[in-house]
Amino acid sequence: MKKVVFQPKVRYKLHPGYLAWILHRATGILLGVYLFLHIWVIHHLSQGEEAFNEVMAVVQSPLFHLMEIGLLATVVYHGLNGLRVVFIDYGNLAKRDIMRKVVYAVLAVSAVLVGAGAVPMLRLAFGL
């Protein structure tokens, strides 16, 4: 079989759309790894009350509540940017003059939602 050689592109321009793609990929990897960890933690549910409450005590410490904010940010960004990708495919968000604005809109809406959603997690983390 003929060996296919892929030439690396020398320079990439850091367009907002490219930045959004990098973030989408990075958050996607994090969420995939988190999903498998999450399934493993929650499977303690089938081992009875003691085992479940024990493992939940570990993952509901103040440090984990702060890390939950990071999880929220990862989920919110990946979800909203994913919706943007769907509208690139089915709508007109790939248009040159629109794409940049929508990337900024995704980042802005994400920031607002994460800011609002972080309040209960901060309260739990600091016991307020």
Partner: protein, 121 residues
């Protein structure tokens, strides 16, 4: 040799389409998941609180659907990353195979957790 089974054998159109379908489904289910577990209930998650919900077969069905969408979406996402960066057919086959094992394993663990709960109702 293995390349043809993963490259030209399948168009990937279903993978592309269902990644969008599962993604939109996850937007809805994840919002519900976050709302119920972090915002609608006060304080830490405990066995009693989770079990109060898991008594209902509707919640179990929803959680299984949620699990299917999430595992498919994650696995297909990792598959796309492998397709993007791994060009050697043999290595690609090994990685995609490992991905199947991990995905089926964790999917099984998740389904077993939901199905075999000893619910004291």
């Amino acid at each position: 040799m293995l390349g043809k089974y993963f490259g030209s054998g399948r168009s990937g159109a279903f993978d592309w389409f269902f990644q969008r379908v599962s993604g939109v489904a996850l937007l809805i289910t994840l919002f519900l998941h976050f709302w119920v577990l972090h915002y609608a209930t006060e304080g830490p998650v405990t066995y009693q609180k989770v079990m109060a919900r898991m008594v209902s077969p509707a919640w179990k069905a929803l959680d299984i659907a949620f699990l299917i969408f999430a595992v498919y979406h994650a696995m297909n996402g990792f598959k796309m990353i492998i397709d993007d960066y791994v060009h050697t057919p043999g290595v690609r086959a090994v990685l995609v195979g490992a991905l199947w094992v991990v995905a089926i394993g964790f999917f099984g663990l998740g389904v077993l957790t939901i199905v075999t709960l000893k619910v004291q109702a």
